[in-house]
C-alpha cells in the first residue's frame, strides 16, 4: 500500500501527462492553466461494532452538517427468493412501512413526516433496505420507529392488496417505457433461467398476483434476523452516540437465521451475437442495450474493468457518447455500466437513439466494442479517464447518502468495508497492460447480447439488414414471437 505523498505525486503527474499532448497538437492562443498541488483527501474512517444480538453496525462519521442517515440492510433481497415467488422480497420490503404495533401505515407516515425524516422501505435484488435520513436532533426517535417497522411489522390484511396493486401498476408503468422493456429482455437473455438476475427484481404480474399475506409473513420470519443484517450509520454521530442509538433502536431485535447459500447466478452460454427485438409501437426513439454477463467486484481484474468501462462509456468524454452523440447526433447520451452483482453481473452499453438511426447506432456501438478489444487504448486517453475517477472521487462522497451508497455496495459485493481507504491509490496504479488484458480476456465483441426496444415496423428490417447476429423478436414476457 502506498502512502499519501506518493499518491499525490502520481495524480499530479497523470494530469500533466494528459494535458501536454492536447496543447501540442494545436496552436492555441492560450493554454490551459496548470494544476496546483493536489490537496490531501482522506476517506472518512469506517468503524465497525456488533450489538449483543449479532447485528453488525458500521459507522461513518461526517460532521459537516447536522444530518444523519441510518440504513438497515437485510440479506433478504430478490436473489434469495424462488422463481415461483418472484416479487415476494420486494412486496415484503414495501410492506414493512405499513404497520407496526398499534400504528397503521398512515400513522407511521405521519410520525416520520413530523420528524421531517426521509424514510423508505424496499427490497431490490441483493438486499432489503429500511432507510431513514433526518436532522440530528430527531434522528434517534426516527431510527427507533424505523426499527420497529423492521422488527415487528404487522402486515395489515388491507395493505397487502393495496401494495400488490401498486407493484402491478409499477410493473405496467416500467414496461410502458422502452427502457424498461429493453432492461428486462437483456437480463433474460444474458443469464441462465435459474439465475435470480434473469428475473425482474419486483416480479411479474404472473408471480405477484398469487402472493399472499402468509407468504409475506413467512418470508419476514425466516429471512429477517439481526445476524443477517447490517446497520449503516452515516453522518453527524460520534462513536458513543452511534452505539447508543443503535442499541436503543435495534437492541431488542431477536431471531436467528441459518447461513445463506452462495449466490451463483449463472450466465447463459451463447456462441455468437444474439439480437433481441421487442416491439413498442409508436416509439420515436429506441432503447438499445449491448453487453454481456459475467463480472464480479471480487474478480482480480475488477479495477482494470472499472478503468476499461470508464474509457468505453463513463462520464461524458467516453467513446460511445462521443461517437453516438457528439459525432453522429443519434442520441441525447450514451454510456456503459459495470453492473456488479453477487455471483455475476453484467457489462453493458445503453442509449436511447432516434428511431431512424437505430441500426446505424448499433453498428457504431459494436464497432466501438471491437475497437476497445482490438486496439490498445492510447495512454493519454487511459490516463485522463483513470484520473477522472481518482481525482473525482472525493466529490462523489460529499453527502451522507453518497457515503451510505458506497458502503452498501461493498457489503453487497462482499468487499472489505475499508475498501475506499486505498481505492484511489490502487486505481491509479492500474497499468495499461492490465487494462489491455482485461479487454481481451473479458470482452467478446463477436458474442454479445444486443437488445432493442422500439417501433419494429420501422426498425426491424434495417436492423436485420445489418447482419449483426441471430435476430429474434420477443414479447414483453421474453417469449420468442419470431
Amino acid at each position: 500500500m502506498r502512502g499519501n505523498l506518493h499518491t499525490q505525486k502520481t495524480f499530479a503527474l497523470v494530469v500533466g501527462a494528459m494535458l501536454l499532448p492536447v496543447s501540442a497538437i494545436r496552436t492555441q492562443t492560450v493554454t490551459p492553466p496548470p494544476a496546483a498541488p493536489l490537496r490531501p483527501y482522506v476517506f472518512p474512517s469506517v468503524e465497525q461494532f456488533q450489538l449483543p444480538n449479532g447485528l453488525k453496525v458500521i459507522l461513518v462519521e461526517k460532521h459537516t452538517l447536522p444530518v444523519v442517515e441510518g440504513r438497515l440492510l437485510v440479506d433478504a433481497g430478490a436473489m434469495r427468493e424462488s422463481a415461483a415467488k418472484s416479487g415476494l422480497a420486494s412486496l415484503t420490503g414495501s410492506l414493512l412501512s405499513e404497520g407496526t404495533g398499534a400504528m397503521d401505515g398512515a400513522a407511521i407516515a405521519r410520525a416520520m413526516d413530523a420528524f421531517g425524516a426521509q424514510y423508505f422501505t424496499n427490497a431490490g435484488y441483493s438486499v432489503a433496505a429500511v432507510d431513514v435520513v433526518a436532522l440530528k436532533n430527531v434522528f434517534p426517535q426516527a431510527l427507533e420507529l424505523a426499527a420497529k417497522t423492521v422488527i415487528a411489522p404487522s402486515f395489515p390484511v388491507g395493505e397487502i392488496s393495496r401494495v400488490k396493486n401498486r407493484a402491478l401498476a409499477n410493473y405496467q408503468q416500467a414496461h410502458a417505457r422502452t427502457a424498461g422493456l429493453a432492461a428486462d429482455a437483456f437480463i433474460r437473455a444474458a443469464f441462465d433461467s435459474s439465475a435470480p438476475f434473469s428475473r425482474p427484481a419486483s416480479g411479474t404480474p404472473a408471480t405477484i398476483t398469487p402472493l399472499t399475506r402468509d407468504d409475506v409473513v413467512n418470508w419476514h420470519r425466516t429471512m429477517y434476523a439481526p445476524s443477517a443484517a447490517t446497520l449503516l450509520l452515516v453522518g453527524d454521530l460520534t462513536p458513543a452516540e452511534a452505539r447508543s442509538v443503535a442499541q436503543q433502536a435495534y437492541g431488542t431485535w431477536s431471531g436467528t437465521r441459518s447461513a445463506p447459500a452462495t449466490i451463483e447466478n449463472p450466465i447463459r452460454p451463447s456462441s455468437g451475437t444474439r439480437v433481441i427485438l421487442v416491439d413498442r409501437p409508436g416509439s420515436v426513439q429506441s432503447s438499445v442495450i449491448i453487453g454481456q454477463a459475467g463480472f464480479r467486484a471480487t474478480d482480480p481484474d475488477y479495477l482494470s474493468m472499472v478503468a476499461l468501462n470508464h474509457v468505453f462509456g463513463g462520464g461524458f468524454s467516453n467513446r460511445v457518447n462521443l461517437n453516438l452523440r457528439e459525432k453522429h447526433g443519434y442520441t441525447y447520451g450514451a454510456n456503459s455500466t459495470l453492473d456488479l452483482r453477487p455471483g455475476s453481473g453484467a457489462f453493458r452499453v445503453s442509449s436511447e437513439v432516434r428511431t431512424n438511426a437505430t441500426d446505424s447506432a448499433l453498428v457504431e456501438v459494436v464497432n466501438e466494442y471491437k475497437r476497445i478489444v482490438g486496439e490498445p487504448i492510447p495512454m493519454t486517453e487511459l490516463h485522463g479517464s483513470v484520473n477522472n475517477l481518482v481525482s473525482g472521487f472525493p466529490s462523489s462522497v460529499q453527502t451522507v447518502q453518497q457515503l451510505a451508497g458506497r458502503i452498501q455496495q461493498l457489503i453487497i459485493w462482499g468487499l472489505p468495508v475499508d475498501f475506499y481507504a486505498t481505492y484511489r491509490e490502487r486505481l491509479a496504479a492500474v497499468t495499461p497492460e492490465e487494462v489491455r488484458t482485461a479487454a481481451t480476456s473479458r470482452l467478446t465483441p463477436n458474442n454479445v447480447i444486443v437488445v432493442v426496444a422500439g417501433d419494429l415496423s420501422k426498425i426491424e428490417a434495417p436492423i436485420r439488414a445489418r447482419n449483426l447476429g441471430t435476430v429474434e423478436v420477443w414479447d414483453v414476457n421474453g417469449n420468442k414471437v419470431r
Partner: protein
C-alpha cells in the same frame, strides 16, 4: 415542496454544530452559508464561499437569461444555446471543455453540467480544488469568445442532440407532454411562460448560426451574470484568478427589458383537456393552479401548500386517494418555482391500469376542493419536511442545488446573496392562516388546468377531445 434540483452550498463546521443543537426550536438562522461579494468593473458579480471540509472547488455561473426571453418562432433557443456553450471557444477545441475538466477530476453530469429553465441558464463545474484555475479559465474563455468558433456543423450536431433530448423526455414517454400542455393552458399566448423550455422541433430546425451569435451578443456578458466560486478555496487567490480571466471581458449592452410578466391572481376560467395517450398504460390526472411566484413573499407558503396536499407520505392526497379510496397508486404535489408574475402548483394522481379515469379525476378534484382548512399538525409536518430538504441540499458545495447554486439564485432573483440564510426563517414564519388563505384564494375551479391522460389504443399520441369551460 418546490420542484428544484437546487439546494444550497457550504456551511461552516461551527455553524452546523449550533444548528444541530437548536434545530428543534424551529427558529432558524443557525445554519449560515458565509460569503463575500464583489463586482468587477465590467459588471460581473462574484460571490466567494469558503468550505474546506472536502478538497473540491465549485465554479458556477448563472446567466440572467431563460426561455422567457425567447421570441415567438424561436422557442427552445435559450436551451439550444446552452448546448452550444459546450462546443468549444477560441482557445478550447470542440470536446475539450468536458475533456479537460474530466481529466482533471470533474464528474460529468453531477459536477459538470449546464441547465436551462424559464428564468435563467446556469453552468457549473466542481473540480478537485487544485484545478480551480482550469475551471475559471474555461468559463471565462466561453464567456469571452464563444462565437469566434461557432460553425454550422456544431450547431447541426447539437440541434440533433436537443431533438433527441426532447424525444427522450417528452415524445417517447407516457404523459410526456403534460408539462408543456400545462404551461400553454396556464399562461396566455403572449406570456413568456406560455411555451416550454425545450421548445418545438420546428423552431429548433429553424435556428441559424446567426441567431446563436445574436443571442450570445444580447445575453452572454459579464454584466448579465453572477459567478460563484465556492469550496476549498483561498479567497484572495481566487479573486486574483477571477480578475485575471474575467476582468478583460468587455461589458456587454444592457439586455432588452423583459416583456410584462404580470398576470391576474387567477386564470379566470377552468380548462380541461382529455389526452388520448397511446403510450400510457394507466390513466393519470394532472391539475395545475396559478399561484404566487418564487419572488413573491408567499413563495414559501406555496411550497408548504404543495407538501401538505401532495408532498410527503402523510399528505392529504396520499391519505385519501392512495390509502382510503385506493383510486391512485401514486400522488404528488409540487410547484415549479417560476420567478416572475406567477408560478404553477401541480398535483398528479396516477391511476391503476384499467381503472376509470373519471373516478380518479372526481376524487382528486373533491380533495382539492376541500383543501382550505388545514390543521396545525399538517402544517408542522410540511414545515419539518421543507426544513429537512433545505438542510439536506446544503450538503453539496456545487452541482445541482448545492450551496453555490443557492447563492447564485439569491443574487439573480433577489439581488440578495444572503437569501440562502433567510430560507429557514421564511419557512418558519408561515402561519396556518397563511396556508388556508392561499388555498381559499387559489385552489378554485376557475384557476385551474386539468389534464386527463387516458390510455389509447392508437399509435399516435395526439390529443383528441377538448372540453374547455
Amino acid at each position: 415542496m418546490r420542484l428544484r434540483y437546487f439546494a444550497v452550498s457550504l456551511l461552516s463546521l461551527a455553524a452546523a454544530t449550533a444548528g444541530a443543537q437548536s434545530a428543534k426550536s424551529a427558529k432558524s438562522p443557525e445554519l449560515r452559508v458565509d460569503f463575500t461579494k464583489e463586482t468587477l468593473p465590467n459588471g460581473l458579480t462574484v460571490i466567494y464561499h469558503v468550505d474546506h471540509s472536502t478538497p473540491v472547488a465549485a465554479v458556477l455561473l448563472w446567466y440572467n437569461v431563460g426561455s422567457k426571453m425567447e421570441q415567438p418562432g424561436r422557442t427552445g433557443f435559450a436551451h439550444l444555446f446552452e448546448h452550444m456553450m459546450f462546443q468549444g471557444s477560441k482557445n478550447v477545441e470542440k470536446g475539450q471543455h468536458f475533456g479537460l475538466l474530466e481529466a482533471a477530476g470533474g464528474r460529468a453530469g453531477a459536477d459538470i453540467n449546464g441547465t436551462t429553465n424559464q428564468d435563467r441558464t446556469n453552468y457549473f463545474e466542481q473540480v478537485p480544488s487544485n484545478q480551480l484555475e482550469l475551471a475559471l479559465w474555461l468559463e471565462s474563455d466561453r464567456m469571452g469568445t464563444l462565437t469566434q468558433t461557432l460553425t454550422k456543423e456544431k450547431l447541426d450536431n447539437q440541434r440533433e442532440v436537443v431533438k433527441n433530448e426532447r424525444r427522450q423526455g417528452v415524445d417517447n414517454q407516457p404523459y410526456g407532454t403534460w408539462g408543456e400542455r400545462t404551461g400553454e393552458m396556464m399562461f396566455p399566448d403572449s406570456h413568456p411562460y406560455h411555451h416550454s423550455v425545450i421548445g418545438s422541433m420546428a423552431d429548433l430546425s429553424a435556428a441559424s448560426v446567426e441567431d446563436v451569435q445574436n443571442f450570445f451578443k444580447t445575453y452572454y456578458a459579464p454584466n448579465n451574470a453572477v459567478l460563484v466560486v465556492a469550496g476549498d478555496i483561498d479567497v484572495p487567490q481566487a479573486k486574483e484568478m477571477v480578475r485575471k480571466y474575467f476582468g478583460p471581458i468587455p461589458r456587454g449592452p444592457v439586455p432588452p427589458k423583459l416583456a410584462s410578466m404580470s398576470l391576474p391572481a387567477t386564470v379566470g376560467r377552468e380548462q380541461r383537456v382529455v389526452v388520448q395517450d397511446a403510450l400510457a398504460p394507466a390513466p393519470a390526472v394532472f391539475v395545475a393552479y396559478r399561484v404566487p411566484s418564487a419572488k413573491d413573499k408567499r413563495a414559501q407558503a406555496v411550497s408548504l401548500l404543495a407538501r401538505v396536499i401532495g408532498g410527503g407520505a402523510s399528505s392529504r392526497l396520499d391519505e385519501s386517494l392512495v390509502r382510503r379510496q385506493q383510486l391512485a397508486t401514486n400522488v404528488t404535489g409540487f410547484n415549479f418555482g417560476l420567478a416572475d408574475g406567477a408560478d404553477m402548483l401541480v398535483f398528479i394522481a396516477n391511476g391503476k391500469p384499467g381503472s376509470n379515469p373519471d373516478s380518479l379525476e372526481r376524487a382528486l378534484l373533491a380533495e382539492l376542493a376541500g383543501a382550505s382548512s388545514f390543521t396545525q399538525a399538517e402544517l408542522d409536518r410540511a414545515r419539518a419536511g421543507e426544513r429537512f430538504s433545505f438542510v439536506d441540499g446544503l450538503q453539496s458545495t456545487g452541482g445541482f442545488g448545492g450551496r453555490a447554486d443557492r447563492l447564485a439564485e439569491g443574487w439573480t432573483f433577489f439581488h440578495n446573496p444572503d437569501y440562502v440564510n433567510t430560507v429557514l426563517g421564511d419557512i418558519d414564519r408561515i402561519k396556518l392562516a397563511d396556508l388556508n388563505e392561499l388555498a381559499r384564494e387559489r385552489l378554485v375551479p376557475n384557476n385551474r388546468v386539468i389534464l386527463v391522460f387516458v390510455p389509447a389504443k392508437k399509435t399516435a399520441s395526439e390529443n383528441s377531445a377538448t372540453r374547455a369551460n
